[in-house]
């Protein structure tokens, strides 16, 4: 209603004002705009972004089967019991085939359909690499701006983008289940270094205490191994036990999150905020530059350069230099 007749800025203003007043349909529309990178999204972000910065964003990641969705549901329950509002972004690398939303989210949404202080949203990858990080960062900022003071960012996949997204939250929770398979153990190592808190879920299963003990031992040993200058220095995450299905250990997790939230800013949180900002800014810079290059002279020259690289008639560095020369001047 009105979408077609209003210009993007007026439309964005209308939606942003409604969303701030608590209109969840307006919020949902803004998030769709963000996902599709429309001009309405840009105008809304310009208006709402400065209102954000107060929420605690919590990244939740872990190998498939560790129980992420169940833990997220338990955290929602615990926050709601304390009358605290909560928004969830489920980052889902899936596809047009599933419609970009997992069945589990729809089920979870249903149980909070009547509760205006719970907002759950799946976000799928669109467009080029890095799209997911900038989109989920923008979505988190919107949810923050309209007043959700906890924003959970659950990543479904366990790839580079997903780990980066979880790591760019104020606090990153990595979930692990006792006695998972070999391959998962290997992936875990990539996850552990971004963790602020490690939760060993399914604590009622045999081996949970042993898994927790192993993790604590690994995590104490870890700092010595990290000579890398490219990544922030390894954290020393807290290791907690929980059983998401029964809620056991969830109050302790929430207490740990609140302690981190009220603690003075540390380097890892400043780095996370900067990472979120950079992901968004560089994605926009890239989008703008590509748009400019693809618009210039109908984009023919740019497309020809890319085709020449695809056909190995030109190397990618020479093509990049030519494109930068065209856009920037040299």
């Amino acid at each position: 209603m009105g979408e077609a007749t209003l210009d993007p800025i007026a439309r964005a203003t209308e939606l942003a004002e409604s969303a701030v007043r608590g209109d969840r349909r307006a919020l949902a529309r803004l998030l769709t705009a963000v996902e599709n990178r429309t001009p309405v999204a840009e105008a809304a972000m310009r208006q709402l972004y400065p209102r954000a910065g107060r929420a605690h964003t919590v990244g939740i990641t872990g190998p498939p089967g560790a129980g992420k969705s169940t833990l997220v549901a338990a955290i929602i329950g615990e926050l709601r019991a304390a009358s605290r509002p909560v928004a969830v972004i489920a980052v889902d690398p899936s596809s047009p085939i599933t419609g970009g939303a997992l069945l589990g989210d729809r089920v979870r949404m249903q149980s909070y359909a009547e509760d205006p202080d719970v907002f759950i949203r799946s976000m799928a990858a669109r467009g080029h690499a890095g799209g997911l990080a900038s989109t989920s960062g923008a979505a988190a900022a919107l949810l923050d701006a309209v007043g959700f003071d906890t924003v959970l960012v659950e990543t479904v996949g366990t790839g580079q983008s997903e780990v980066e997204i979880a790591a760019a939250a104020d606090t990153t929770v990595v979930l692990e289940a006792p006695e998972m398979g070999d391959e998962v153990q290997a992936i875990k190592a990539g996850l552990l270094e971004v963790a602020d808190i490690v939760v060993v879920n399914k604590a009622d299963r045999p081996g949970a205490q042993r898994t927790a003990a192993q993790l604590r031992a690994m995590l104490v040993a870890a700092p010595a191994a990290a000579g890398s200058t490219e990544r922030p220095r390894p954290k020393r995450p807290q290791v907690l036990l929980a059983t998401a299905t029964t809620g056991e250990g969830v109050p302790e997790l929430l207490a740990a999150l609140d302690r981190r939230r009220s603690a003075p800013d540390d380097e890892s949180r400043r780095a996370a905020r900067l990472a979120r900002a950079e992901a968004q800014v560089w994605a926009i810079v890239g989008d703008r530059l590509r748009a400019r290059l693809l618009a210039e002279g109908d984009g023919t020259g740019t497309r020809e350069l890319l085709a020449a690289v695809a056909e190995h008639r030109l190397d990618p560095f020479s093509a990049a230099d030519e494109l930068i020369g065209k856009a920037v001047g040299t």
Copy 2:
């Protein structure tokens, strides 16, 4: 030896010439340079990239536990039995903690340590989003340039970046095991739409035939659901059965790969080549632009803009516009 005394171009020329002559140590050094995005990598790519374009790159992906590594080993065995050279890039989102290489690769490398026509390399993510796609694309081009006519790109994670990398191969093989858990099924949907060939592995297990039948039914039904204009039109992948541990079904998979290879170029292969080229070119454009902006006036202005976004004093679109203005002029 000589690294410190030669300039990057001379060093790259030396390594490139050695690598083309079959020197695997020189090739390994070039790949390290590519991974670290050094000036030697740039110079070597400028020289070697135009020699590439003949190899068949095959992306292999699938959920953890589907048996990707075992299938890759079986494909290597089959190719070597036919005296065909093969290179493998194992894209691994893991970390300094594991050293960026999976134990499994080291084991597999061992069994081909004496065979100069098998080259296996793990590549980890470095730096910003999209890094993995451009790095693995550059690595595939190098392996192609020095004469490997089959380059397998195995992605370990199942995130956005990894799916994009697998999808950017000439042929994308998605592996599936019978009766995997619910969450994996959901991830699978994101994988299926990029598949040219789906392999149901562990065909000796109960349920394999049923899984294959289900997949065939799904894949026939899929095209109707895809109204997206952003992605290439859905493929109609072939569904094969295999048991990677025994090698059963692997000759049929290889025959399917060879059929695709010798078939006239289709739209999906042209799109994949263009995607590989674009990933590399835009990553280089982004790197160059960031470097330029971070060098300008010591980078203070750029870092201040990014900090202002991190602290929500400025929205990311305004920051991006200012940065583009600085780099490009408006």
